[in-house]
Subunit: 188 residues, 2 copies
Amino acid sequence: MGRWEPDAQGRLARAAMELYIERGFDSTSVAEIAKRAGLTERTFFRHFADKREVLFGGSAGLQDLMVEAVRGAPKSAAPMAAVAAGLLATGPLFQDRREYARQRHAVIAANAELRERELIKLASLASALADALRGRGVNDPAASLSAEAGIAVFRVAFDRWIDISNKRDLTQLIRESLDELKAVTAAG
Amino acid sequence: MGRWEPDAQGRLARAAMELYIERGFDSTSVAEIAKRAGLTERTFFRHFADKREVLFGGSAGLQDLMVEAVRGAPKSAAPMAAVAAGLLATGPLFQDRREYARQRHAVIAANAELRERELIKLASLASALADALRGRGVNDPAASLSAEAGIAVFRVAFDRWIDISNKRDLTQLIRESLDELKAVTAAG
C-alpha cells in the first residue's frame, strides 16, 4: 500500500490490454486487471479512473502535443501547413508503440461504446486544432476546414500505420496522406 | 386507432421538436409528444421507434441520396468530384427546412448522447461514401481521404447554412466550402 511499484502503470496497461483482447472489454474487471499485473485494485485506481481510461488516458497528451505544434509553427505558415506541423509532432509519441496501437485498435473496433468514445476524441482533436488556428488569426471556414481535413489525414495515416503489412513509420505516412489529400482536392 | 391521421408524422415531429426545445430532450416523454400533436402514443410508435428517431430518422435517406449521387457521377469524374456530386445532391432535401435544421441542431448541441449519435451518423456517412468510391474503382487512401474530406466540407457548410446571419442556400455553401478546402490544401 503506497509502496512504490516499478512501472506499475505500464504493467497495468499491458495486463488490461491482454485481458481486453482475450475476453473482451466488457467482460474484464478491474480486479482481474490488477491480479494479472500482480498489483492491487487500489494501485489501479491510483493510475486510472476506470478501465476505459487505460485506452483513452493518452488523449489529452496527444491533443496538447498537436495544439502546441500548431501554435509554434512559423508565423508565415499557411493554415494547413500549421496543421501538418501538429500532426507530424505526434510521430515520436507513437515511436515503438505500433504493436500497442494495433491491439488498442482491435479492442476499440470490437466495442460500440469504445468506438463512440474514439469518435468523440477525434472530434475534440479537430475542434482543438481549429481553435489553435483561430488563435493564429485564421478565419472560418478555413480554420475548421483545415482542422477537420487534418484529422481526416491523421485517421487515414494511423490506420495505414497499424496495418499488418505496413513497414513505414507514422511520420512518413502522415506526409504521404497530406500529399494525397492535396492531390485529390486539386483534381476534384 | 389505425385511423388515417393527416400528416401524423409531420405533426409528431413538430410537436417533438417544440417540446425538446422547451424542456430538453431528456425531460420530454413520448406521451407528451403525442398529446401535443393531438395523437396517441400508438400513432407515435407507428412512425418512430423512439423519441431519438424523430431527430435521426432521416439519416438513412440522406446517406442513400449521397451514395446514389456518388455512384451516378460520370465515369470520368475524379474521386473528389464524385464526392462533391454526393454532397450537392442533398441540397433539395433541405430546401425550406432551414428553421427545422436549426432547431434540430440546438437540441442536439444541448445533449451529450445526441452529440455522440450525430458523430456516429457522420462517421457512417463518410464510410458509405468511401465504399461508394471504392465501387467506382478508387483505391485507398484516396477513397477514404476524399470521403472524410467531403464530410468535413458538408459539416462546415451545414453549420454555416444554419447560422442565423446566413442568407445563402446550402448548395451554394457546399460549393464555397469545396473551393475553400481546395484553397487551404493547395496552400498547405
